[in-house]
């Protein structure tokens, strides 16, 4: 059905249908964010031998995030006197909008996708770079040295880690011969690319955690060092937008990892009777769990080690991965 929609000529009806579908996806993503935050707090709690949220919404704290968001929404909206007002208001929008835009490129199953871009992967990487501007803008517009420091750190980190992130997927592009995410998944029918380019998978995983500004790469908002990073001066709804950006990117990045390396909706051998969308959800949840798991385990990197790690370790390894992938393709995939 979606394939017909994507190939039929454009029109007003078309726009309305896509608007409706987009709204549905937004609701699903918001639901994911709500329960991803809860899951993160729960899993971190279990790892630290405590129960995690267990008051609001029954034993499992099912309404904890809802209550937190409600509290954020009814908070006073403060804008510092000396802040650059237009930029201050624009920054959270500019940070969030790309996070949702990148989701358009991701195919969730054979039939469930919102676009069929021939350069889907490039689109994702290009659009997600805009968020850095939003974060830097937030740091600058707050007129606060802590914010500015956090914003600068964040921009430096996100730009540095974007390079190994992009280079590590070159292997995948070589295997599939396409930038179209659907075709990349189709290319993994027999074997997932994480087995063909394990090096690339590891580099991608590490730099995606850094891209998401999550522990152990959470220097931009290091609670114990900077006051809070780029969003010191933000409160209430605007702050909620930054939080939302972070978790929507978690969704997008986990989905992208699933598509690129874990074989998307392709089933594990002999379990083909389970529908593709469920396979996608399972692999996706595995990645999200891994992110939370790493957060529960690793301490934060030092700022000077952070850049060195990106440029002196990840980048050479990613380059090496290109050569290894070329050899693998030449020897085994002909």
């Amino acid at each position: 059905m979606v394939n017909d929609l994507l190939t039929s000529p454009p029109g007003w009806m078309h726009a309305a249908i896509f608007f409706g579908l987009g709204a549905c996806l937004l609701m699903i993503v918001l639901g994911f964010v709500t329960y991803a935050i809860l899951a993160e707090r729960k899993v971190l709690g279990f790892m630290q031998l405590r129960p995690g949220p267990n008051r609001v919404g029954g034993r499992f704290g099912l309404l904890q995030t809802v209550a937190d968001v409600l509290k954020l929404l009814i908070k006073e909206d403060t804008i510092p006197k000396a802040a650059d007002k237009p930029l201050f208001i624009l920054a959270p929008v500019l940070a969030f909008a790309p996070a949702f835009m990148v989701l358009a490129a991701i195919p969730f199953s054979d039939h469930l996708k919102f676009s069929d871009l021939s350069i889907g992967l490039l689109y994702y990487i290009a659009i997600s770079g805009i968020t850095t501007v939003g974060i830097l803008m937030a740091g600058w517009a707050s007129n606060n040295k802590y914010s500015l420091l956090g914003g600068m750190r964040s921009a430096a980190q996100m730009i540095s880690y974007e390079i190994p992130l992009v280079i590590s997927v070159v292997g995948v592009i070589m295997f599939s011969g396409s930038l179209n995410l659907t075709e990349i998944v189709e290319g993994q029918k027999t074997v997932a690319y994480m087995f063909l380019s394990p090096l690339g998978f590891i580099v991608f995983l590490i730099s995606s955690i850094a891209e998401l500004n999550r522990t152990p790469f959470d220097l931009p908002e290091a609670e114990s060092e900077l006051v809070a990073g780029y969003h010191v001066e933000y409160s209430g709804f605007r702050w909620a937008f930054f939080m939302l950006t972070e978790y929507v990117y978690l969704f997008a990045m986990a989905a992208l990892t699933t598509v690129l390396f874990l074989g998307g909706w392709n089933p594990v051998p002999f379990l083909g009777f389970i529908p593709g969308i469920i396979w996608f959800a399972l692999k996706f949840s595995l990645i999200v769990f891994f992110m939370i798991w790493v957060r529960g385990t690793m301490p934060r990197l030092r700022a000077d080690q952070l850049m060195e790690f990106a440029w002196k370790v990840l980048l050479p390894v990613a380059l090496l991965n290109i050569f290894v992938s070329a050899v693998v393709k030449e020897l085994f995939l002909r």
């Binding site: 279990f46 405590r50 385990t297």
Partner: protein
């Protein structure tokens, strides 16, 4: 690299371990025996010997007794018995010194009140405080 794997393994194994936290306000906390909690008082055992009031280091016990109603019998019976928990330090000395075990410790510890007046516990309250009484009262 080995350290990273070790750390990940440790946090993963923690998932299945018992929590170290308790569900305290929902589930009452069981104190070990010999815990020094709020006293329980048995008026019928008391012989009004005043030893508890004398030994109390903070002078928080006040008691009065009447002569025994049966004129043929010697001794007194207790009339009022108050402990002021604003100053009681739950030191266990009153229960140690009591010759008839008329005052004993319990495992209850919840003394938070909205008013200071409510910390002044009288004979009736101390008599009714009869759950979680300490099993072994000899030191």
């Amino acid at each position: 690299m080995k350290g990273l794997a070790k750390g990940l393994k440790y946090t993963l194994s923690n998932l299945t371990k018992q929590n170290v936290t308790t569900q305290y306000p929902d589930v009452p906390l069981q104190m070990p025996d010999r815990f020094r909690g709020i006293q329980k008082f048995y008026p019928e055992k008391c012989i009004v010997c005043n030893q508890c009031a004398n030994i109390c280091p903070t002078d928080c016990i006040q008691l009065t007794g009447n002569p025994h109603p049966d004129p043929g019998k010697k001794g007194k019976i207790i009339d009022t018995y108050d402990i002021n928990f604003e100053i009681c330090i739950l030191c266990d000395l009153c229960t140690e010194v009591c010759p008839t075990e008329a005052i004993v410790m319990t495992n209850n510890f919840e003394l938070a009140e909205y008013s200071r007046d409510e910390l002044f516990k009288d004979l009736v309250w101390l008599d009714e405080n009869d759950n979680n009484v300490r099993k072994e009262n000899k030191a």
